[in-house]
């Protein structure tokens, strides 16, 4: 059971809604993934190009909406985007994303922190997308964020958990849920994150850019189940040397005597 901001979810997967060919494809992938939380972005209405309605179909399948502040270059813009999203959706959840650099889309920790501080004061449930920095996580936790969302590797890079060492520290020390966000490229990356004890994983490109998106969504659904079960079961420890799984008595020699 995943507990976030006072709500409970059976699935530990959060899906992003970008890069799908249609709203229908997105909904089918979302259903196949089993995810009960989905992110989306706030933008000015595009008066020239048609875009598929995504909010209503996601609400119809019972998904919790987690709007983000993607596109914000600083705290002020992130706060503005968050308030627009709340006004539009009547949802007080916000994934705070401030990444001024478009090449790597790495989050700006100072602007993110400042935005979180203001939004928490304003009553938002805040989910910051951040570098995998344990100290920053602690500072955000002290502010009152609802979870932390450290990155595994750059958004859409599919490079997996490059920040593994720091993620382990964050998971070990955090008192708020840890959502591994960004860079998860394949189901085994998600399994690894869950085995480490991550509370949730956020996946977008790995599903939306897969050959068969629905099949990949199912694979991630199974990955989150396997990874969480393994974590709850408790992994067998590692060792440098072998540990026999069969009796080592010299049965043949004894039988020949």
């Amino acid at each position: 059971m995943l507990k976030l901001a006072g709500r409970e979810f059976n699935s530990h997967l959060i899906v992003g809604t970008g890069k799908y060919a249609s709203g229908e494809q997105l909904v089918q992938a979302c259903l196949a993934s089993g995810a009960q939380i989905a992110t989306m972005a706030v933008k000015r209405v595009d008066t020239e190009h048609h875009t598929d309605e995504i909010v209503k179909p996601l609400l119809e399948i019972g998904v919790q909406l987690m709007p983000n502040t993607s596109g914000a270059k600083n705290a002020r813009e992130a706060v503005f985007a968050a308030k627009l999203a709340r006004e539009a959706l009547e949802v007080d959840w916000i994934k705070v994303e401030v990444h001024p650099d478009v090449k790597y889309l790495l989050p700006d920790p100072l602007e993110t922190y400042a935005a979180c501080k203001e939004l928490i004061k304003d009553g938002f449930k805040v989910f910051p997308y951040i570098p995998a920095d344990p100290v920053l996580c602690r500072r955000l936790e002290d502010l009152g964020v609802s979870a932390v969302m450290p990155l595994g590797s750059p958004i859409g890079s599919a490079r997996g958990l490059e920040t593994l060492g720091m993620l382990k520290i964050i998971i070990a020390e955090s008192h708020v849920p840890v959502i591994i966000d960004a860079g998860i490229g394949c189901p085994s990356d998600a399994v690894k994150a869950f085995e480490l004890g991550a509370d949730a994983c956020m996946v977008n490109t790995a599903i939306a850019a897969a050959g068969d998106k629905i099949l990949m969504a199912k694979a991630f659904n199974l990955a989150q189940q396997a990874g969480r079960l393994a974590y709850e079961a408790g992994l067998a420890g590692q060792s440098e040397t072998a540990s026999p799984t069969s009796p080592l008595e010299a049965f043949l020699k004894e039988a020949m005597q």
């Binding site: 992003g16 933008k43 209405v45 595009d46 875009t51 995504i54 909010v55 983000n68 993607s70 539009a88």
Partner: protein, 66 residues
């Protein structure tokens, strides 16, 4: 009367409230937010909020994103 809507200057024949303007753009109030001169106007105020010459109006909605 002229306003700036999504960065484009447009001419309105009639005086409109923000609610009337949103509807005139083929949008429903649901799922959208509006800002005038970069200040968010709560939906409950749209019916009384009268647009004036030179105002910058932006309407936002939620789109696909990660």
């Amino acid at each position: 009367m002229k306003i700036i809507y999504q960065d484009h200057e447009i001419t309105l024949d009639d005086e409109l409230t923000l609610l009337e303007f949103v509807r005139s753009q083929g949008l429903s109030e649901q799922g959208v937010a509006a800002a005038v001169n970069e200040e968010i106007i709560p939906k409950r105020s749209w019916a009384e909020f009268r647009l004036a010459d030179g105002m910058q109006v932006d309407i936002f909605n939620l789109v696909a994103g990660g």
